[in-house]
């Protein structure tokens, strides 16, 4: 196909957008709303993921050494801990250190513990290389001789993972349903414009137009609908999210991702989805009319 022809078909497609003004408006709105919801759920799930990985990375196991455990065996115990599968880090906190930290925490009120000697045990702080394996690792640690007690956010962890899984799965289902709806809306819109132009297509075929020549304007129309339908929600979400991040103060681990980290990826995906919906919707609906 010649460049000049492509130019012509592109102009035709754009003209059709305006000729079928209301239908085009409806299709663009449909795509825009679909992608706005898609973008929102993306921002939401990215941030939930971000916050949960914040929390996960802070998950730790506190393993307290039995008070009667001989100090000279401590290095051997540490070696054993490090050798456990799935351990990322092991840090030793001696009872003296623990006391210092406690005093620092209490500041001027440290008098209340001054008469007690040092009741604190030696302690190991461990992190699992996979945060989700924390409960399993804790169990293994507890089984080692010399460890008196193990603590980690038992009930909290289970709930956290359950919540993040549910959020992720619903987001996926939701997004797939939205995309299908978007394709359906576009192809319906284009079907209507084709229906009103059946006569034109019939005459085009009669005088010897190739299928790609006939398809051209519809392809352009679908692409434009998808493109505009993606740009609107991208811009709205970009401004909206920037405003949100700039105006809401949160404390770790509950922080939001930086706008530019989220928005570039999101706009790219919205644009691709918009183009996909537009092109697919238009080609699907023209195909039936070209067959005979």
């Amino acid at each position: 196909m010649k460049i000049r022809t492509m130019g012509r078909l592109t102009r035709e497609g754009c003209k059709n957008l305006f000729r079928n003004g209301w239908m085009s408006f409806a299709a663009v709105s449909a795509v825009a709303v679909t992608l706005l919801i898609l973008g929102l759920s993306m921002i939401l799930s990215l941030n939930v993921q971000h916050i949960s990985s914040n929390i996960e990375s802070q998950l730790q196991i506190n393993a307290y050494v039995a008070s009667n455990y001989p100090a000279k065996s401590l290095p051997a115990l540490e070696t054993k801990l490090k050798a456990l599968p799935g351990v990322r880090s092991v840090k030793f906190v001696s009872k003296q250190q623990a006391m210092k930290e406690m005093k620092a925490l209490l500041k001027q009120n440290q008098g209340i513990i001054s008469g007690l000697g040092n009741p604190l045990p030696d302690e190991y702080v461990l992190q699992a290389s996979n945060p989700r394996a924390t409960p399993l690792l804790a169990k293994k640690v507890a089984g080692l001789p010399g460890i008196a007690k193990v603590q980690y956010g038992q009930s909290f962890i289970g709930k956290l993972f359950a919540v993040t899984n549910v959020v992720r799965d619903t987001a996926i289902v939701f997004v797939v349903a939205l995309l299908i709806m978007g394709v359906f809306l576009i192809s319906n819109t284009i079907k209507i414009t084709i229906f009103t132009r059946r006569r034109e297509i019939e005459i085009m075929k009669l005088v010897g137009a190739t299928n790609s020549f006939i398809r051209g304007p519809f392809f352009v129309e679908g692409t434009m609908i998808g493109l505009v339908g993606a740009l609107i929600p991208s811009a709205v979400l970009y401004e909206g999210y920037r405003w949100l991040v700039g105006n809401v103060t949160l404390f770790p681990p509950f922080t939001l991702l930086a706008p530019n980290d989220v928005l570039f990826e999101m706009s790219t995906i919205l644009l691709l989805c918009g183009l996909f919906m537009g092109v697919w919707g238009s080609l699907v609906s023209v195909r039936r009319f070209l067959r005979k």
Binding site: R4, I203, M204
Partner: protein
């Protein structure tokens, strides 16, 4: 030029529109196809530009083996065959000039060629002064001239017309026929299905009569021959 070898057409609903039709039409001939309504004239016409496909037999038009044609070659074939209809098949949103240019645009001709050819053709059919008018502001005869101009603009070797004067009064019918004769004088083959007894009887050309899907008569300088 045009050859049908033992062609049959049965529609999907079981109607046998044509059976065992064989015809040969030479380059430059002028042929009427006559017969009562429902005889199979339109089917005969449609088979030639592959609007319909034969159930049996072979069809050759201007060097194209019509029933063997690949999907991609159909547009190329259509550019070599001009088709004219009873209902003109014009686009009402486009001006006369644009309707004619349409057939050239699909061939990716340059704008200069399109402008030149359209002007020539509109002069030939006598509509040069109505180039910018919309079809609905024209009389039936003038609309059919636009249809013929569009069929001619790609310089086809053959013009196929299905009852082109079916919607026209006698005066307009005559002027359309004169136009076809002029086109034919320049060497273009014309095949015209018609009900118009006066035209057929007055012009004495080859007549192919179809009844119940079969050719019952084929004579040079023939008559219409029915009392309908």
């Amino acid at each position: 030029m045009i050859e049908l070898q033992d062609v049959s057409k049965e529609y999907s609903n079981g109607v046998k529109a044509l059976s065992g039709v064989s015809v040969r039409i030479k380059q430059g001939e002028f042929v009427y196809v006559v017969g009562p309504s429902g005889a199979g004239k339109s089917t005969f016409i449609k088979l030639m530009y592959r609007e319909e496909r034969p159930t049996n037999g072979h069809i050759f038009v201007g060097g194209f083996n019509i029933e063997r044609l690949r999907e991609r070659q159909i547009p190329i074939m259509r550019r070599h065959i001009g088709v004219v209809f009873q209902d003109y098949k014009l686009l009402n949103k486009l001006s006369v000039q644009e309707n004619v240019a349409f057939a050239l645009e699909v061939t990716e001709a340059s704008r200069r060629t399109i402008g030149r050819r359209v002007k020539e053709i509109l002069e030939l059919v006598g509509l040069a002064d109505k180039a910018h008018v919309l079809p609905q502001q024209l009389s039936g005869g003038e609309q059919q001239r636009v249809g013929i101009a569009r069929a001619l603009v790609n310089k086809p070797n053959v013009i196929i017309a299905d009852e082109p004067t079916g919607n026209l009064d006698p005066e307009n019918s005559w002027s359309i026929l004169k136009l076809f004769e002029r086109v034919n004088d320049r060497g273009t083959t014309v095949v015209m299905a018609t009900h118009n007894r006066e035209l057929v009887n007055a012009t004495k050309k080859r007549v192919i009569a179809i009844e119940h899907g079969e050719i019952v008569r084929d004579e040079e300088r023939g008559d219409y021959g029915y009392e309908d």
